[in-house]
Amino acid sequence: MTSDDGPAIRLATPPTRDAVLELRAGDAVCLTGIICTARDAAHQRLIALLEAGKPLPIDLEGQVIYYCGPTPAPPGRPIGSAGPTTSSRMDAYAPVLHAHGVMATIGKGPRSEAVRAALVEHGAAYLVAVGGAGALLAQHVEACEIIAFPELGPEAIRQLTVRDFPTIVAYDAHGGSAFATPSLSFA
């Protein structure tokens, strides 16, 4: 995917803080490296562990979290269809995770003002991938391993090794937004 003014920015993941601070809303960004999936149920568990002061099964520092619950991998492929789910359902959890070092999240759709404020406060970014393009996005996943909560099935936390995974910066760390309607009024 290309942006309005040229080819995509290449971002190694986990990214450095400086690299995230350079991103601007509307930039096309291709990710190469390690990211982790987590959606509703995994977030509930992570927050419960944090509140209980217990150790987490993943290190949040520097992490890129992809809101995704893939389909089962066919033989010979690392993953099934693997597009983003609606991010706003994770809005209740995201500020806490950013406070614990999460550098970026990937999903689809606008989010709450509280999430945007957390991105600015912690120097993080929110990226979107094309929703409903799970077959295409799966072509950019080279490896997939369940690393926590396997009992949650599609909602388990998976570590993905991605190459040139196409995203767009929806909210940057400076308050910028790429959405036609900047954030959710009801969230």
Binding site: T2, S3, A28, T71, G109, G131, G132, G134, A180
Partner: protein, 282 residues
């Protein structure tokens, strides 16, 4: 009286689940190509191209179009002269979903108990089945896997007669704006007009998943309403994935039913661009 065995239904549903999840219907592909021809927003164009490419990759690789392979909604038009043998229709449909989702490596997204996150049924059953008795001796099944993201943005309103047509258009456009990029626009909007609280919602779902995109309503007044809603929704500028553009919706379809003199029930079923459905006739 014509007999249709349990196994025939289960096999048909299993195949339809797999096919629906891998192949974007031709009318949806044409719809995406049509809006790409006039969309000018650069990001929107990239998104639309990605969606068309995704449809090609899904067919080529056998991967599902979307990782959310949905809750399976089945519309069954059952001929009155059909005798089902070997078991119940509902069990046959669920057996088909079970096999289709396992064999097709489709995602299991159903919780047995809505408040228990750990109660995934593991085979995407049960389906939501709507049966209608019709004349004849055939069974027509439309299998429509429905994603959670767009279903979540659907709504039902009990408007007053005074709100009328303007109220209908306003409620729908406001809802689409509120949803923004969350339900994966470009959308297909199914509108249920009239009936009762529960029937309006069912009409809206039927309107969202049945019938071809690009074919206006045979009722001129409803065709005009569809066109007005489509224009108003596309004027919001939300665009594909909410990132701006003139193509927030692919199509609007309205189904209606008579209603009480005191009421104006209206329902909106929001369908994402991955408008998957397969119809089989047994």
């Amino acid at each position: 009286m014509r007999e249709i065995p349990f196994e025939t239904i289960a096999d048909a549903v299993a195949s339809a689940c797999i096919e629906a999840n891998r192949r974007l219907p031709d009318d949806v592909v044409r719809g995406l190509e049509t809006i790409l021809a006039f969309e000018k927003h650069p990001t929107a164009r990239e998104v639309l191209r990605a969606l068309l490419e995704n449809a090609r990759i899904a067919v080529k690789t056998g991967l599902p179009l979307c990782q959310d392979t949905g809750l399976v909604v089945v519309f069954a038009d059952l001929g009155q002269d059909v005798h089902l043998t070997g078991g119940l229709l509902e069990d046959a449909v669920n057996e088909g979903v079970r096999r289709g989702y396992r064999e097709g490596l489709l995602r299991s997204s159903m919780l047995a108990r809505p408040l228990d996150r750990a109660s995934n049924t593991g085979d995407n059953t049960p389906a939501v089945l709507h049966v209608r008795l019709v004349p004849g001796d055939t069974l027509r099944l439309t299998v429509a896997p429905k994603g959670g993201g767009c279903e979540n943005m659907s709504a039902t309103w009990m408007l007053t007669p005074a709100q009328g047509r303007r109220g209908v258009v306003h409620a729908i456009v406001a809802r689409v704006k509120e949803a923004g990029g969350q339900p994966c626009p470009p959308l297909i909007l199914g509108v249920g007009l009239g009936g009762s609280f529960e029937l309006a919602a069912l009409l809206a779902k039927r309107a969202a998943v049945m019938g071809p995109i690009g074919e206006p309503n045979s009722d001129p007044e409803l065709a005009d309403l569809e066109a007005e809603i489509l224009e108003a929704v596309n004027a919001t500028g939300i665009g594909p994935m909410g990132l701006g553009g003139a193509t927030t919706a692919l199509w609007v379809r309205v189904e209606f039913y008579p209603c009480h003199i005191a009421s104006l029930p209206v329902a909106l079923n929001v369908q994402c661009h991955s408008a998957r459905h397969q119809t089989v006739e047994l």
